[in-house]
Symmetry: C2
Subunit: 220 residues, 2 copies
């Protein structure tokens, strides 16, 4: 059965999932890159993102790896796909990840501005969804063919799915950095009232990893 999962979403000690002033040079906002120190050195990220054979095993690697296991489709907010705002001026922006993106499955990008699907190398196709989060989820679920759907973010996309009770499981990493400002993951989302609880809590030297599940939804 398809589950809706957030994986490897990292927040700062003060609760922010991205820094302020996101742009081409700061895709995660100012200071946002420091959030992901735990992930960068893992074997999974070295292989999937940087195309190298290096990287480390351990707690951080375990969580990086699980984020790619049994994923049949992704959903991304438009700002995760790129820095372009408003109507697409042309089709030149093809994502942050080069011609062979890290996904290797269909990716549904939430946007208010229509655009033709973008077929990349390695099995990734970006589909641009203009009719809302429910439509995106329905299409992602179908594309996943029984595997899970991973919600990539950003913060506002995750919040929208959380508030509708649609997220089955979240892996959150808490990094030892302060961002001071930005988008707060749990702003205006009452996780307790929504039925979530912490089912795993383990730390490396670089991050604390927590897994949150909706009660009664652990039906994988």
């Amino acid at each position: 059965m398809t589950r809706i999962r957030v994986e490897g979403f990292t927040i700062s000690l003060d609760g922010f999932g991205a820094g302020p002033h996101q742009d081409l040079n700061n895709p995660l906002g100012v200071g946002g890159t420091a959030l992901h120190g735990w992930a960068m050195s893992t074997r999974t990220f070295q292989r999937n993102v940087f195309g190298t054979d290096g990287g480390q095993d351990g707690i951080d690697e375990d969580f990086a790896a699980r984020g790619f296991q049994n994923i049949g489709a992704w959903i991304l907010g438009r700002n995760m796909f790129g820095p372009v705002r408003g109507p697409w001026p042309d089709e030149s922006w093809r994502g942050w990840w080069g011609e062979n993106p890290v996904y290797h499955v269909p990716v549904f990008v939430l946007t208010h501005h229509a655009r033709a699907p973008l077929v990349m190398e390695g099995g990734t196709t970006f589909h641009f969804v203009t009719d809302g989060i429910d439509a995106a989820l329905a299409r992602a679920r179908e594309a996943a063919q029984g595997k899970d759907v991973r919600l990539g973010g950003g913060v506002s996309v995750i919040q929208q799915y959380l508030r509708q009770g649609l997220v089955d499981e979240m892996h959150i990493a808490i990094s030892p950095v302060l961002l001071g400002a930005g988008e707060r993951l749990f702003e205006g989302v009452d996780m307790r009232a929504l039925g979530y609880e912490c089912v795993q809590f383990v730390a490396s030297e670089k991050a604390t990893h927590v897994v949150l599940q909706r009660q009664g939804r652990n039906d994988a």
Copy 2:
């Protein structure tokens, strides 16, 4: 030199330092007691709070113990002292801690309502300060006689001192619980702009412990 320290202040995964609906039966708000699981079983808490010889050593104990080291005075918000709101109806409320409170030093309670000092057993005297946080700090600093001043909380008191740049060091514990609502420690406080950084990050099975310092203020 006297330093102003926050010690053992615990927040939930979603960033709250206390649950909602604080009252006599829920001094930490609904769900707030679960925050402090890491502290309850430590040797320091067993001895200082419960008066027993038991308790465990380890990471949690190390942080519990440091919270009482070199403390010459405390500052508490009124809600930390008790559930009474508004003018004191009488002097019958003498704190949550019985006749021999855990402090054993002068404690300065911030309130809008004057009350005579309350001398307890074991060296604790509660002084009620009605002329604001600067006055409370000046009196606490003098009373501490060169030792440090510990800011006990709650959230709004800590925020007021943080915004004025008066806190030298904070030990924050992050517990594996969700509160969903309540008072968020870092709400409206830009820790990065204020010059704080994380200088220690270590976890037990029950909590992640972080130490934040203001840059250039590590002058102990």
